[in-house]
Symmetry: C2
Subunit: 461 residues, 2 copies
């Protein structure tokens, strides 16, 4: 079975065929950098990172572009509120997103273009659209796309243009049709602006992505991704702009579902406690990643702290298996992709089925430990590691092996030394000494759990 | 004493007077992102970070801009060599620089503009220069600055224009004078380009910085920094462009000296082993930072591995003092700025004198320990922490307190437990047990050093 993906544009799952053999170009709509990232934002990054890793593992050379929208009304409002320039707001939150992606082991994009860095490309695109009769500059400094001039419109969201309300991006009366949308917005007093042949102004959100996708992936490329909520109007308007300019644009459209709370798209009020840097105080980055990646990307993920904790515990069981197995094997087998895992991933990235495969493999591995079957154990470790790697959750991935690791080894050894001393004290019936050792360990916040595979420790916060 | 700085433009040290009370704007020439950063590149970041921290500590609101030069012949060559697009090269090394700055606790800039993101601003600047009669577009797609049209030129490097050779940035014969330099370079076939009124092309290096400094700091700003080697031609040409456009440009020019090897600016061949990510395998980031910041910014820093190690050992002594003192005090006194330290920093950032102050304070602190004078000890800790913080080297700065820290505390406690057990074994004359404990600790790569302040440990790689 080869990779099959659901295409929002065709509303069915079909075989993925790259435009060029062995190469894939992906454009993912990134963040509007106006607040710290919460898991609703980052889920998209994790879902498309799994796609990217799967494509890489199956031999594709992937060019992955994820933009930064660094000019927007929300950023301008935040600048007023924080009393710093709008570009300092954008930089601050761009960094917060970078940190969050890194904490969750999301591979950095091949390129991460900023919208404000592509004004010349946007001007060129608008010139083309005006020349082709699909856009107009009514003289007030705005530039609009004329939706009635298009051969097709709203095919992604399957709406009829006549059912559409006003595009609502301007209160003025310069539009030919209320459904026309702004490619470019005339400068308002005090707002940042860039010069154009139609006067100073700033880009409309939709135009940015059409220009940046073309700049880095060309006029026609393989996959365009984003969250469900971007289908309309953002992605419809990207398609309108790019197709009107004569580009093939994206062949496959993929949309990840939301993180929900009480069945709704994450609310702003709850948003603060669901920021990545808050949640990574509660669970490790690798555990949060595991949780966010665990649902199918097209399924809503209903968040609860209980579900997050349970997911983290389940992940730690897999980790404990790997630790124990690697200790027994005396080596760390490299990851391999098993067909059971591959079948799941090729089926529109069916992560839940892939997790069932991992779970089964861990079970087989534990049976191999009982049976002292080192060959089977080694195979199980390879399959688990190979699978976890695609999910971005291999604890032995070098992304997770920073300086903390050598300390972890040191703690392992020291705890084992302390436990030996406790045993020795007991053996010589010096119970005062053995109790003192136990208490000293507890006082350090080190929790030792006796497991069938021997004692396991964690350092509590 | 208030802050006095050496100004390359006036060739003397004078009182620093900000353009606006309480605010300072700094533009630092950042990296051309075409290779991993070595300490020659990063020293500049560290030196100007110390300036920034000092200004912040003395009450200034600092806007710090450090650019990324992301289009350049070297980047284009590297792209051919690495067989990836030029923008993927730029992104990769921009990230490598970000990582290196972070590893050395350099505060992230208020904004980090990329040259290619400021084409519209460069075009506007060229239009202004042409209108004012200081630049010309000879029709081949290049745009040149006409150096003979300037009121002054080469004042920073104190050269005479008649002594100057050709600017050498073009082999063509379109220049009015061989010393004219390119603001903009016509597109060569296959190279990236951006549209302009004079044809497609790409920016000259000098133009980028004039345009970006103005975009974020305004036409006139306080401080422009960079390495010594940038004085000519880069900074001279920035001044030529910006002043010809009618801007006041930078009031103070500051230049850091090089990291040298055998008295020469760091060679490329040695460069690999002096990359930040290589050296931070040998010493910790905080120790490398300490070393790079330890010389006066206007003095050459002659690199040797021995000097680096010695510097790291000296730093660890200060750390050991802080650890011991904080343990004795039972609390962590906040940092304060002592007048001895302030006097040194206000004297053109005289870090060597500041280090002498720290050294003296540590000595006083150790005397206070002997005398059990906790008030004096607390003061010494505050002064040392306050000083280290300005140098970006406070081990208790939250930049260094990541998850590794709680593990460090755990290791501290476990080693102390193990040493107690060893003492207990000796006390009961069980020398086999006490030797076994010592050997187990050694086998973990943990080196324990007996110091007057008690045992200190390090985990070797």
């Amino acid at each position: 079975m080869t990779l099959h993906l659901y295409n929002t544009a065709t509303r069915n799952i079909s075989e993925f065929k790259p435009l060029q053999p062995g190469k894939v170009g992906i454009y993912l709509c990134g963040a509007t950098v106006q607040a710290p990232p919460h898991i609703g934002h980052i889920r998209s990054g994790v879902n498309f990172d799994i796609l990217r890793r799967w494509l890489m593992a199956t031999g594709f050379d992937v060019t992955f572009i994820r933009n930064v929208t660094d000019i927007d009304d929300k950023i301008l409002h935040k600048a007023v509120h924080e009393e710093i320039p709008w570009w300092a707001v954008a930089m601050k939150y761009e960094r917060a997103f970078t940190d969050a992606y890194k904490a969750l082991n999301v591979l950095p994009p091949t390129y991460e273009p900023r919208a404000t860095g592509h004004i010349t490309q946007m001007i060129e695109l608008m010139k083309t659209l005006i020349e082709k009769g699909h856009a107009y500059a009514p003289g007030n400094g705005d530039v609009y796309l004329e939706v009635r001039s298009l051969k097709s419109y709203l095919t992604l969201s399957n709406q009829k243009i006549d059912d559409l309300q006003s595009a609502g991006d301007s209160e003025d009366t310069f539009k030919k049709d209320p459904r026309d949308f702004a490619l470019w917005k005339a400068a308002k007093p005090g707002d940042p602006s860039w010069p154009t042949p139609w006067g100073p102004g700033r880009p409309g959100w939709h135009l940015e992505c059409s220009a940046m996708a073309q700049a880095y992936l060309g006029e026609t490329f393989d996959i365009h991704g984003g969250g469900l909520d971007l289908i309309f109007p953002h992605h419809e308007n990207e398609i309108a702009q790019s197709e009107a300019a004569g580009y093939g644009f994206a062949k496959v459209w993929m949309h990840n579902a939301w993180v929900t709370t009480a069945g709704e798209k994450m609310s702003k009020s709850l948003g603060n406690s669901l920021q990545v840097h808050e949640l990574t105080k509660r669970v490790r980055g690798i555990e949060l990643r595991w949780y966010l990646g665990s649902a199918h990307y097209r399924s809503m993920l209903e968040f609860s702290f209980e579900a997050l904790e349970e997911s983290a515990v389940a992940f730690r069981r897999i980790e404990a298996f790997l630790d124990r197995a690697i200790e027994l094997l005396g080596k760390t087998p490299e990851g391999i992709i098993a067909s059971g895992f591959a079948d799941a991933m090729n089926d529109d990235l069916a992560v839940p089925a892939a997790l069932a495969f991992i779970s089964e493999t861990v079970k087989n591995g534990n049976n191999a430990i009982s049976a002292q079957d080192m060959n089977s154990l080694s195979l199980a470790v390879s399959q688990v590691r190979g699978s976890l790697n695609i999910l971005g959750c291999d604890p032995r991935d070098e992304a997770f092996s920073n300086s903390a690791t050598s300390n972890t080894d040191a703690i392992d050894g020291l705890i084992s030394l302390a436990l030996q001393q406790r045993e020795a004290a007991r053996a010589r019936k010096d119970f005062a000494a053995s109790d003192a050792i136990r208490d000293q360990i507890a006082a350090l916040g080190i929790v030792i759990e006796d497991t069938p595979q021997g004692p396991r420790w964690t350092v509590s916060k």
